[in-house]
Symmetry: C2
Subunit: 331 residues, 2 copies
């Protein structure tokens, strides 16, 4: 679920009063925006390590962190966005941001849906679930699908997509309440609380006695270890993320990689940016399901920028139930 575009995008930001419009600038593409909703996403933890990757550079200490959000244009010298436009994309964790370009910003046209959904089902996590499941997993009707972190921003959608496809779907989560949500709200065939399973291999085998065709990987570590032992021949593992490892100084070793050979398994990482060209097609697909109530989405909404750091940290111990959103300003 990695962004894949952030590294080449530049921006700068500052605290700014709403009444202070953008008067003078040497850069004609600048956009002054008011931030409404901020998205807490696991990848952000990785930007707090002092290392660059192919996808992103680390945060700069002392500057506001950045992340995905839903914002409104206050003033613009950019022909792509005009005053009053709503969009989602990378912005700053602050009330107002001054963005240097419109690259990676998506104008919002459908406002009959809650705006916060553009941090989730209608934004990066939604497109991640869509590209990761339909393209990377290459699912077929009747296949056995396992989703970890299944009540999260991406997992809850993958499970529902898999059900639409006619798959058998089991999810794992970290509390009994989340397990109930998976079964009763999202329609998973079954679900379990991984924290109550002393032997993950046995747990996975219990839910998939015939093995797993598709594993949508959100957590890594011990769960991947157990899943590898339970894959079916020609199974696929779409690696969206490995949240269990992001707070580790040294990632856990995964030992069962010979299963890849025995079972001819394909493991594939992907970046959501590869699917951005399909965003419009994705909206055509998902909007009717949302409007008809056939796909549900659960958000965990926290009020106030001051509560954003706690909300972000909460992702890594599973405090959130559903997509974690921070409301900076609902108006």
């Amino acid at each position: 679920m990695f962004l894949g575009f952030q590294k080449n995008q530049t921006w700068w930001s500052q605290n700014i009063d709403e009444n202070l419009k953008l008067k003078v600038t040497g850069d004609s593409k600048n956009i002054l925006v008011k931030n409404h909703y901020l998205s807490c996403d696991p990848y952000m933890r990785l930007l707090m390590k002092n290392q660059s990757t192919e996808i992103f550079d680390p945060y700069t200490p002392g500057a506001p962190i950045t992340g995905l959000g839903v914002s409104k244009v206050i003033d613009s010298r950019n022909p792509e966005l005009k005053e009053g436009d709503l969009f989602w994309g990378i912005t700053g964790w602050e009330e107002y941001s001054l963005l240097k370009s419109s690259e990676g910003l998506f104008k919002i046209h459908h406002t009959d849906i809650p705006l916060s959904y553009y941090t989730g089902i209608l934004g990066m996590p939604g497109l991640t679930a869509y590209g990761g499941f339909y393209e990377v997993c290459a699912p077929k009707k009747g296949e056995y699908v396992f989703v970890s972190a299944a009540s999260g921003a991406v997992g809850q959608l993958v499970g529902q997509f898999a059900k639409l496809m006619g798959c058998y779907v089991v999810g794992s989560a970290g509390t009994q309440d989340k397990v109930e949500l998976l079964k009763n709200k999202f329609g998973f065939d079954d679900a379990f609380n991984y924290k109550e399973e002393p032997d993950l291999n046995a747990a996975v085998k219990r839910y998939f006695p015939e093995g797993i065709d598709i594993y949508f990987e959100n957590v890594g570590g011990k769960m991947l270890h157990a899943v590898l032992l339970n894959m079916r021949v020609c199974g696929r593992i779409a690696v969206c993320g490995m949240i269990s490892q992001y707070n580790c100084d040294q990632p856990e070793g995964v030992h069962n990689l010979m299963s890849i050979v025995y079972k001819r398994v394909r493991i594939e990482g992907f970046a959501v940016a590869d699917y951005y060209p399909q965003y419009s097609k994705f909206l055509d697909f998902i909007l009717p399901y949302i409007r008809e109530g056939k796909i549900k989405y659960v958000e965990d909404i926290v009020e106030g920028l001051e509560n954003a750091p706690t909300a972000l940290i909460g992702l890594f111990n599973g405090r959130n139930v559903g997509k974690q959103v921070v409301v900076v300003s609902s108006q």
Copy 2:
């Protein structure tokens, strides 16, 4: 490079004098064969563990072990093979074998090439290199290719295929002699002795300062760990085997799996049996290269069935130089 057909094949065998033809049997498909060349392959070690996999059941203690070989039909009640036919396929580690069916046996039509080559370049390892490289790796001209265990039965071919494709190819091996072989006989662009590298990550980085597009994985463990840190975006890892792990009670953990996500890497295991339908096409491809001397093949030939166990064990400490073959009878 896993076989993928062995599990459903049945055979039985016994010591038999050459003059003792097959007289009485309740099974009309029986074939009595004389074994000429036996193939030492890493996967055989895995059949000595007391565990079944999707691909094969373990060896039966007390019975002759089985493996690939080149054999001649002495007598046959099977319409697929007649007396005097040469073939390669699964047989017993013994002078004569009584095979219960012709399933998985490939009749040999081209005898201008050394018969022992049907244990290697013209047999399972050849087809493994062909399917694994051209299909699983999906190579493109100019890409950076790394092959481990590169002077082995499969590796030496993968490197030469990659050169034919116009790739930049580096191989790793375990002695300086093998390194010279890779560079001077097989035409690799470069090669290194992994046993002399205290830091495999640094070694891989030194040979691939711009990263690896394709890794043909034969060894697993620490080498995979190092390679994952040096993959390029959208790189591919074809997992043929992990010989470094076959003697381990507990496989080593691989820690750098987040690289799969950062770099959108695809890791894929495969079984040579998936490419058996392409065997005839493969022969059309490879035979002219062999006859014209454009593809080389190095074998390590041991004389005598009594030396076969030592030869097989030698694979796991790299004693062999090239494809390890045992001659049971050259006539």
